[in-house]
């Protein structure tokens, strides 16, 4: 097996995370980088996002998805970088195996990769997971009623419309108000279809405020919050849905239900990190993000295996994906070039024991999960519910008068918007991050 070509860094996925991870690895002096991408063209989900709004932070302008992807890809064309990078497109990673390190410096991974007409093994000293996420489905939310033609996830419709020139229906109800659903409400409307309503079971929208304004309000599309679906109708093709408001206990008020005729149902009910490869190689997962548990260098509990972008945590802005991935790529390169002394894989108990960042009140999760050494750390997190006048504290876990080390204030927060800020960690000690409104 040691005869196979060995790369310093293998990156799985050539979406925004994978491309930026490659750039980060190259800049951090990785000698050889391979990117494995299942589609034929790099860019990932950006290729189907023909709307604008990408790059406001990273490029100070509003780009479309394909434009943003092109910028990222161009970075890799720089001649100092380009000759280090191999892009395997139309290629699937069949499995990922962490090899047992026989000697220090010889740790690594073997990847079985497959493409039309070929299956082979490649090796890499470190691996960056950048596979993104997938959409939750009608089955996953136990959508009640019939299962006729005309039920799609919003991202599937986005791909069908924007990349395959296929239209799916004339009158849609969108279940869930995640960002893709909001974007697709506008897209369908612009293509002459009608969007009868967007419903969400939560009392607040799942997507960004700007998308609610620009995609629903500007087109007079009703947003029905605190609304659940009672039944999908139609034996052959979707004929309609019955929706009902929820009472204060979260139960459907069936007497107040309404029937909404439609021929298409689109779901935008959440995204799940594509964590199967991470799980298969033994990386521990966070039950809240459903992505791997990582330290401050975005390394998972498997030494040499890194994660970034939506496979780590579902982001709402691609700009932050790129930033996170560049960092993960650079850490992966450093580990490949100068691997730390042989380490063993952490057991669940050990990972728990060294978890120095506790997720405190009003937060759903905080990343990273662990801190290994003092330094500047980017913390990212999501709140559990929308609030105004909100503070996030980074504090010592140990209770005491001067436990708060850093406080960030936000005028408004929402679960749909990831909070991100940096923290200078001077001293190794267990931390807690918690939120409060004031």
């Amino acid at each position: 097996m040691n005869n196979e070509p060995k790369f310093d860094v293998a990156i799985i996925g050539a979406g925004p995370a994978g491309l930026a991870a490659a750039a980060g690895a190259a800049k951090a002096s990785a000698g050889s980088i391979v990117i494995i991408e299942r589609n034929y063209r790099p860019g990932g989900i950006l290729n189907q996002c023909i709307h604008d709004g990408f790059g406001l932070h990273r490029y100070n302008e509003s780009l479309t998805g394909p434009e943003y992807a092109a910028r990222e890809y161009d970075i890799l064309q720089n001649k100092e970088i380009a000759n280090k990078i191999t892009l395997l497109s139309g290629t699937f990673v069949q499995d990922l195996v962490a090899e047992v390190a026989e000697a220090p410096g010889n740790q690594g991974f073997s990847l079985t990769v497959m493409s039309s007409g070929s299956i082979k093994v490649i090796r890499a000293a470190s691996v960056v997971l950048a596979m993104g996420c997938r959409e939750r489905t009608a089955g996953a939310i136990s959508l009640p009623g019939t299962r006729p033609a005309g039920i799609f996830t919003a991202g599937t419709v986005q791909r069908l419309m924007n990349m395959q020139n296929i239209s799916v229906g004339k009158r849609a109800v969108i279940i869930g108000s995640g960002d893709i659903g909001l974007i697709m409400a506008r897209r369908l409307t612009l293509e002459g279809a009608e969007v009868a309503a967007v419903t969400d079971i939560q009392p607040y929208p799942g997507g960004l405020d700007r998308n609610v304004r620009q995609c629903l309000h500007d087109f007079n599309i009703p947003l029905l919050l605190s609304t659940g679906i009672v039944k999908v109708h139609g034996k052959k093709r979707v004929e309609g849905v019955t929706a009902a408001p929820l009472d204060t206990h979260g139960k459907l008020r069936l007497l107040s239900s309404t029937y909404i005729p439609c021929d298409t149902i689109m779901l935008s009910v959440g995204l799940i990190p594509e964590h199967e490869l991470a799980r298969s190689v033994g990386a521990l997962l966070d039950t809240s993000t459903q992505g791997p548990i990582v330290d401050q260098h975005l390394m998972t509990t498997v030494p040499g295996l890194f994660a970034c972008g939506n496979v780590l945590q579902v982001h709402d802005l691609v700009d932050f994906v790129s930033k996170e991935a560049e960092y993960a790529g650079s850490c992966a390169a450093k580990t490949a070039i100068a691997p730390p002394r042989p380490t063993h894989r952490l057991s669940a108990g050990e990972a728990q024991a060294i978890l120095p960042i506790k997720v405190g009140s009003n937060l759903r999760y905080v990343l990273p999960h662990t801190i290994l050494e003092p330094g500047r750390i980017t913390l990212s997190m999501r709140v559990t519910a929308p609030e105004v006048n909100f503070r996030v504290h980074v504090a010592r876990l140990e209770k005491g008068a001067d436990r708060i080390l850093l406080t960030k204030t936000f005028s408004r927060v929402s679960p749909s918007e990831m909070l991100r800020f940096t923290f200078n960690c001077d001293k190794m000690e267990p931390l807690e991050v918690y939120g409060e409104s004031f």
Binding site: I119, G139, S142, S167, G169
Partner: protein, 516 residues
């Protein structure tokens, strides 16, 4: 008009099992099916269990054909290359009353000829399935699991390869029975059929000397058309959840509760499938509309709770799909329980072989019922074996059947497959690891029109945790580019279930019609 020796109405597992063995005789044979494919009704919407036969009254059709069918199933599946696993089952008692019921079931099972059956205690239960709750159990090692749709497809392919004709998307509208002594001197049945959704087209007629009614939920309608009004079917729905394959190793064998005395089903249970998913269900609810395969909020909640109870490792994201199937019950709601299968050659309508009320264990019993129907046919027309019978899983439309799924191959086998056909290197469904080569083979071998559901049942594409989110877009391209099916003609499961309304912008689709 060609006069067939035999016309079978219904291409479910019963109709196809009968078609398979009659096709191996000298008789000419036609199968008429209202759906676009085999097994789209009851046959694909059940637990996929090959029952042992402990539950049925000794001497009843259900008992006799279940035990016979169970014995025949393994050999049949081997011949037709259909996955079958004799997993065994325990029926668990939680209190003394239920232990008594188990003793009664044991006695009944022995009388029915169920092999290997025995009562086991808690310790033995723990060996079979660690952590099982309950006091005692009845162990039936002959219980098995099977893919019900793969079996039905394979039976139909075998019939087709031996010369049977199939008409899909044809609904029988009326039947004229033979009246040799009347003015018309009609010697045979004449069936008027309507081609699905095309109300404008004229009815198409087919003629048969023998008519076999295997129409499942529609069997009493077909019988009425022939003047037989003895039976009523009471549709009874069962809802299920499909669980993620992640949990595949958490269940060694089937675990059922002891059924209630008047229950219309066998109780909510966990069933492992040959493909590695676990099913939770089925519920048990009489309904009015025999086509309403809805799932409902209340029952899905019950199933989720029951699932968490039976399988502690179950997480919220492990529920990947829900579905329901409908039992064609002869027992009315107020009676409850079960009535026996009707398998009869009608004396009042000579040549009409009537099968009705074939609910559970119909899948298990199907090979044995087919043998019985063959002997009923033999009483009406002379039978002899056909020359050059095609055995095994046949070549269809010049495409041989590839038994092994790519996803279950070793790396060396995969490599060999890819070298032989580069489409094996191209993944279409990533959750179930289905390749373009397998999709193309399945579509090319389909007897009727190609549908997404048909491809799903043949390949498992779209059956994984992303439920088509990834592969739908690839499948539509393959159907258009390799099979010339225009985007707006691609259906989920036949006419009326078109998936797409067409193209957004006017372009000429390569290889298909020009207009939109």
């Amino acid at each position: 008009m060609k006069i067939y020796d035999v016309v079978i109405v219904g291409a479910g597992v019963i109709g196809c099992a009968i078609a398979r063995i009659l096709a191996q005789t000298n008789l000419s044979l036609l199968i008429i099916e209202k759906e676009p494919d085999t097994g789209f009704g009851i046959s694909s919407r059940n637990s996929g269990v090959v029952h042992s036969g402990i539950h049925y009254t000794p001497g009843s059709n259900r008992a006799v054909y279940n035990v016979q069918g169970n014995r025949m199933m393994e050999g049949l599946c081997r011949e037709l290359k259909v996955p079958f696993k004799r997993s065994g089952k325990i029926t668990v008692a939680f209190n003394e009353n239920q232990v008594d019921t188990l003793s009664a079931l044991l006695k009944q099972g022995i009388e029915n000829g169920v092999p290997g059956i025995k009562l086991i205690d808690k310790k033995e239960m723990d060996v079979l399935q660690p952590g099982t709750r309950g006091k005692a159990a009845l162990y039936t090692p002959s219980t098995g699991i099977i893919s019900p749709y793969e079996l039905t497809i394979a039976l139909a392919e075998s019939a087709y390869a031996n010369g049977a004709d199939f008409k899909f998307n044809h609904t029988v509208e009326s039947i004229d029975i033979p009246m040799p002594d009347s003015a018309q001197q009609r010697e045979h049945f004449v069936l008027q059929t309507k081609y699905a959704e095309n109300s404008g087209t004229k009815p198409i007629s087919y003629a048969a000397k023998i008519l076999i009614n295997a129409a499942g939920l529609g069997s009493t309608d077909i019988a009425k058309m022939a003047g037989i009004d003895d039976y009523t079917i009471y549709p009874c729905r069962g809802e299920y959840y499909v669980l993620d394959k992640r949990l595949r190793d958490s269940l060694n064998l089937l675990i059922y509760p002891v059924p209630g005395a008047h229950s219309s089903g066998l109780g909510i249970h966990l069933t492992n499938t040959v493909d590695g998913n676990i099913l939770i269900g089925p519920s048990n609810e009489y309904i009015i509309d025999d086509e309403d395969t809805s799932t409902t909020i209340d029952i899905m909640k019950t199933l989720r709770e029951e699932g968490h109870h039976l399988l502690p490792a179950l997480g919220g994201s492990d529920f990947i799909r829900s579905f329901s199937g409908i039992r064609p019950k002869l027992a009315p709601p107020k009676e409850g329980g079960f009535r026996d299968f009707i398998i009869e050659s009608r004396q009042d309508v000579p040549g009409f072989i009537n099968l009705t009320g074939i609910e559970s264990p119909g899948l298990t019993a199907s090979p044995a019922i087919a043998e019985q129907v063959k002997s009923l046919v033999g009483e009406l027309l002379p039978l002899r074996a056909r020359d050059n019978i095609v055995r095994g899983r046949p070549v269809i439309h010049n495409i041989p059947f590839t038994e092994q799924k790519f996803s279950t191959c070793s790396r060396e086998e995969k490599s060999e497959l890819i070298t032989r056909n580069r489409d094996y290197g191209s993944i279409v469904c990533r959750c179930e690891e289905v390749t373009a080569a397998e999709i193309k083979e399945a579509a090319a071998r389909t007897l009727g029109p190609v549908t997404f559901a048909g491809i799903k049942y043949r390949t498992r594409a779209m059956m994984g945790r992303c439920q088509g989110g990834f592969c739908l877009q690839r499948l539509t391209e393959i159907l258009r580019e390799s099979f010339g099916i225009a985007t707006d003609e691609q259906t989920l499961k036949g006419p009326g279930t078109e998936l797409f309304t067409g193209l957004l912008r006017t372009l000429q689709e390569p290889g298909t019609k020009e207009s939109l």
